[in-house]
Amino acid sequence: MARKILTEHINVPGIETFDVYRKHGGYTAVEKVIKTMTPEEVVEEAKKSGVRGRGGAGFPMGMKWGFLAKPEGVPRYLVCNADESEPGTFKDHHLMKSIPHLLIEGMIVSSFALGANKSFIYVRGELMYVIRILEKAIEEAKAKGFLGKNILGSGYDLELVVQPGGGAYICGEETALLESLEGKRGNPRNKPPFPAVKGLYQSPTVVNNVESISNMPWIINNGGDAYAAIGIGRSTGTKLISASGHIRKPGVYEIELGVSVDEFLNSDEYCGGIRDGHYLKALVAGGSSVPILPAHLITKTANGEDRLMSYESLSDGSFATGTMLGSGGFIVFDETACIVRNTWNFSRFYHHESCGQCSPCREGTGWMEKVLHRIEHGHGNMHDIDLLVDISKKIEGNTICPLGDAAAWPVASAIRHFRDEFVWHITHPHEASQPGAVYRDAVLA
C-alpha cells in the first residue's frame, strides 16, 4: 500500500467529529505550531516540503507564501479556494465532507504562518451540505479552544469564515474568487497587482487550494524534509486523483507522485483497468481544461519513457505530445467515446462559464461551441477544423484569466490528436449525427 497523508484516517467511523479526529492525532500540528514555532519557521517548513499548489497550476506553496507583502498596520488574509468546479475533479469535495477537521487544522496552521487573523473558506454554492459540515466542525474546534480568541492561551486570534459561492466556475480563479468574496460580481481582476500585494479588500492575500492546505498538518508533524522525500523530483508528496470515466473503479485515490500512469490506470489498488471488453482510447489527465492524450501517448512519452503521475512527466513533450497534471481530474475514455462530442461538451461548459468580461473568451468560447455543435450534428465543413484551431490560438494567452486558455486547450489538442475523427464527422454527416455514433479507428480496432 502506498503511503497516505490526507486520506489515512478517512474511513474511520465518526472522523468528521472533533473527538474522533483528535484521537487519531488531530490538532497536534496546531499545538506544535502555536507552542513551539514562529510563523517564519512554519513558512520555512512549507518551503522545504516543496508542496505545490494542488488547484491546477502547481506553483510551489512555500514560494507563494514568501511573496506575501507584509506592510505595517494592514491585515493579511488567507483564503481557501474550495470552489472546485472543474469537470472531472471532485477531490476537495470528498476531502471536506469526509474529514472536515483536516482542512480546518490546515487553515489554522497556515493562517498562523501568514499572520492572518481572519481566514475564509470559499466553497462552491452547490455544496451546501459540505458547508454545514464545515461550519459544524468550526463550532467544535472553537468550543475546544483551537479557534477564536487567544488560541491555546498563546494570544493568537483566528476567525474562520465559510462563504458559499454563487455557483460560478469562474469564481475558482483566485482574483474572481476575491471579487466574489467582497460581494461583487465574480470577474477576474487584471494582474498585476497580484493578490499577494493587493488581494481581498486591497490587502495582501494568499489563496490556496483545499488539498494544499490540508497537507500542512502532516508537514508540521513530520517535517518538510520528510514530505519532500515522498514523490519524485520536484513533484513532492502525495496527490488526490479523481478518477472517472470508463474504468472499473472510479473514485478518489491518493497516490504518491511518481506512480506510473500504467500502474494507476491498470492496478487493482487504483482504477482497476478499463471496463471489460473495451480498450483505452484517450485520457484527460488533469481535469477538463488540460489537453487530451491519445492512447499511444498515455503510458509512454514521445521518447518511449514511462509516463509517471507527476507534474514533470505528464507535461513531458509540452503540448505537442504531453498534457498537465492540473487539478487531478483523471477522465478515461474507451473506444465507445466520441471525441468530437466530448470536445463539444467541454466547449459548451466553457461557453456557459465564461464571465464575459474580455472579448476573446466571451465571443471565442461561444463561437467554438457553435462550430463544434455543427460538426457533431453533421453540418460541418472541412474548413471548420482549421477555423477551430485558429480560434483557439487567438483566445489562448490573450485573455485576462486562464479560463480562455482552459477553453482553448481541449479543442486544440483534440484536433491535434484526433483530426481524422473530426474529418469523419464532416465526410459522413449522416452516420455521425446518429445518436451514439462513434468513429472507430481502423488501426486500433
Partner: protein, 371 residues
Amino acid sequence: MEEVKPQLIKITFDGIEVEVAPGTTIMQAARKIAEADESQAGLVPPAMCYYKPLPSSGGKCRACLVRVAQGSAKDPRPMPKLVPSCITQVQEGMVVENTTNDAVLETRKSIVEFLLINHPLDCPICDQAGECHLQDFAFEHGSAKTRYEEERRTFDKIDIGPNIQLHMTRCILCYRCVYTADQITNKREHGVMGRGDAAEISTYISNAIDNEFSGNVIDVCPVGALTDKTFRFKNRVWFSKPEDAHCECDKCSGKAIVWYRGDEVIRVTARKNVWGEVNEFICNTCRFDRKKTSDWVLEGPTKVKRSSVISANKYRANLVPKPDFAMKLAATQFKPIDDSRPYVTDTETIREQSIENNDKANHRSLLSQNN
C-alpha cells in the same frame, strides 16, 4: 525649498523614445508620442474599453494588446504574453512593439473579428454610425470578410428612462457605462447581468435611471448600444453640423457640442478630446432639454478630425492636402497579377473554358447546398 521633480522614465515605443512620468501606462506614453507629432497618430493602440476619465476602466476588450520585447533595463526579458497597454505601467528601459510586430497586428485583427461576431452590423440604421469606435476599429484593423456563420445573439430593446434607449444587441460589453454610472453619478442603478456572451447591461428589473448625469452613458458608449431617444433616427451624423457652444448651467460645466440640421438643434453632446474621451461630463438638462439656439452661446464650428466622416462636405480653412495618401493606399491594395497563363484568342477555346468554369461554379454551389 526646491521642488523635487519625479525622475522621468525612458521607454522605446515602436522604435521611438519617449520620456514619461512613473506610473504612466504604455497607452498614455504612446498618446504622448502622437500628441507631440501628429503624423505618428497611427502608432497609438486602439482603445475600445479603456476610458481615461474613468479610473479602473480598461483591460477588458484586449484591442490594445502590445508586445513588450524588453521588460525593463534591469530585467531585459520579454514578457511572455501580449500585455494590455492601457493598464500596463511603463518601466525604465522598456521596449514595446505595437505596429512593428506582426503577432500584435494579427491578434488585433482577431479581436475585431471577435467583437463583430455578435454585433448586428446594422450600421445603415444605427445612429452611432459615423462616430462609432467599433466602425473605426474594424475599418483600421479588421478584415473585410467574416468567418462566422452561426446565429448572432439578440436582445430586446430596453428603455432606460425617458431619454435613453439601450439596444443590447449592439453592445460590446466594454463596461464604460457601468463605470460612468458608478463614478460620475452618485447612485448606480445599472450593471452587468448574466455571464459570457449572454451577459447584458441592464437596470435591475428594468428600473429607469433617474439621475441628472445619466445621459453621459450615451457619450461613453463606443457603439450604438446606448442612444439618445431625442435624436434617434433624426439624422445621420455626417449630415449634421457640430458647433462648440456653452451655457450658464448650475449643475455642470455647460460646455457642449450642439449639432445642427439647418437651423434646428437636433442633439447636444459633451465635448470629446482627440482620443474620443469626454473630460467634462454634462447634465441631462443641457443634453435633453436645451434644444434651442437661444439656450446656447455659440463658439464656432467644432474641430473634427479630417479622417472622420463628419468632416465630409464641410469647409475647413486650414486643410492640409496629403497627396501621398492615395499612393500609399494603392500600394497596399495592389497585388502582382499572375499573367503567366497563355493568352487565348481562339473563340472555340474561350467557349470551352467558360463552359468548364460554369460547371465548376455549379458544382461548388451544389456542394455548399448539400452541406
